[in-house]
Amino acid sequence: MDAVDSTGVLVLGELEDGALASTSKETLAAGRSLAGGLGQPLSLCIAGADTDAPAREAVAHGADRVYTVTNLLLAEYHPELHLEALAGVCHQTKPAIALMARTTAGRDLAPRLAARLGAGLAQDCLDMSIDPESGRMVARRPVYGGNAMAAVVCAGTPQMASIRPKAYEPLEPDPSRQGDVVPLEVALDPSMKRVRLVERIEEESEGVQLETAGIVVAGGRGLGSAAPFKELEETARLLGAGIGASRAAVDAGWVPASWQIGLTGKTISPNLYITVAISGASQHMAGCSGAKVIVAINKDAEANILKEARYGVVGDWQKVWPAFTETLRELLG
């Protein structure tokens, strides 16, 4: 794309049950600071069947302008139709920077969109800023499983970045904020759908949702089998906590894949994260870097998790956990 007339920061928004997704609000916060650094406006685009309410939310959360693509074909998320819609918006609005959250949809859409636009894409970013000299976006992101950090700059236009969920806090919504809503037309056709959803298998999730839980309890390889997770679940119930696991426990088949916390699992940001027999491989730590306080119970004093934890107990979880749970029960009455 031509760089000369490209301007502004565009957030590629997502909808969740008809509302603006929380990850899109986080992305707006990131975009706001970049737009400030450039002295240019912040826009958000949404593609859906009903875009009025989420457009208002976007303005309240920091957007100066909202581009909407309203089409019944977009009522349900479809990777190919949404990609077409986003590409159309980028072609028409020519942003200097385009941002997206690295959600399930973002993981599918951002690379194909970048390839289609001929743009550079910085993936999985934790922090972005504008270099005052070059006016280019500098994006920081963990690589090599978090053992190194890279600062990257995109050549070409738009400069694209996908942002790790929870890396930014949404701005405090201001319902009195004013912004333009600009409807755009993008030609969409049902024949563009090649991928077809056959069946959705929802796992029963009775417990607390991991991504939004205030407290999370998780177990790892050191638990040795599926049975100990019952004990962890009991304690989690007591605390009103979500329950999760490391990839090793999932790969061993002890718990469902949806419990996985980590780079390729869920990203959590609780106030308190209690880990039991999790070694703290960087793969895992990538999913909990947003946790305010980490507690580690591990029999290995050299385990990496103890380097990242605020409080630690070095010992056998089978002896530590029952006493810990019992004391909690007394404390919480």
Binding site: R112, Y144, R200, L272, I297, A323
Partner: protein, 266 residues
């Protein structure tokens, strides 16, 4: 007609290596490990090989493995052959630096795929354990105009369609796409098979096809990165761990609960 399956695989530094061996050369903006630590085939790409071989277990199929890099440890990259893949194609050139970004890599892979001929199905790992971009397979799909399905845990082919069960945050979903298509797979697919002795013997006799940038008609200007690394460094962690220690382990557990209460965390 046998089904033509292509697997994309990357050689990476072993993510399980001891952290003490891992060196960030900030001035060169790259990571180095001692030459005594051999690289590995990216873990998710081994899942991709396994997904292809499972299809081949059930129907007539050929499995070609394609990789790109500056240099290869041949005995490492032959592992997919010893697992049961038929052909190995390596794109090897000094110009294929690891600093070359995803889109330049996708361009080279796409050029090679066109040169190799038609494939019914391309399978790749969901992301590589070094840069975790999860970008090359989708850029290849976009360049070839193929439908793509990501993070599969079960991949089946029949009646001109690929059916993929994929992991989602809420559970799973089953999607299908017409062939030719590209699918990425995740660890939920299950353990890759171990090479058999017979497989290892067969792999020893097979030689990879090796193509340079010139063989692909590419030069440095084609491979100009769209994402440039301007800094690479070791992050600092400021966490200070307070170890809770009682008379015995049960006492430690009790004190931990009291500590969390005192810190108003529960």
């Amino acid at each position: 007609m046998p089904l033509n399956i292509l697997v994309l695989a990357k050689q990476v530094i072993d993510p399980e290596m001891p952290l003490s061996a891992f060196k960030v050369e900030r001035e060169n903006r790259r990571v180095s490990v001692p030459s005594t630590l051999p690289p590995v085939v990216n873990g998710f790409d081994e899942n991709a090989v396994e997904a292809a071989l499972r299809i081949k277990d059930g129907q007539e199929a050929t499995v070609t493995v394609l990789s790109m890099g500056q240099g290869f440890a041949l005995e490492v990259m032959k592992k997919p052959l010893s697992m049961g893949a038929d052909t190995l194609v390596l794109l090897q050139d000094d110009a294929f630096l690891n600093t070359v970004d995803s889109f330049a890599i996708a361009l080279a892979l796409t050029t090679a795929i066109r040169k190799l001929g038609a494939f019914d199905l391309i399978i790749a790992g969901r992301q590589a354990s070094d840069w975790d971009n999860a970008q090359v397979p989708l850029a290849v799909a976009e360049a070839l105009g193929l439908p793509s399905v990501t993070t599969g845990k079960k991949v089946e082919v029949g009646d001109g369609l690929v059916t993929v069960e994929r992991q989602t945050p809420e559970g799973a979903e089953v999607v299908e796409a017409p062939l030719p298509a590209l699918v990425t797979v995740s660890n939920e697919l299950g353990q890759p098979r171990y090479p058999t002795l017979r497989g290892i013997m067969a792999a020893t006799r097979k030689q990879p096809v090796i193509w340079s940038a010139q063989d692909l008609g590419l030069d440095a200007s084609d491979l100009r990165p769209r994402v440039e690394t301007v800094d690479l460094y070791v992050p600092v962690t400021d966490a200070e761990c307070e170890l809770i220690q009682g008379e015995d382990e049960a006492e430690s557990g009790r004190l931990l609960a009291l500590k969390l209460r005192e810190a108003k965390l529960i």
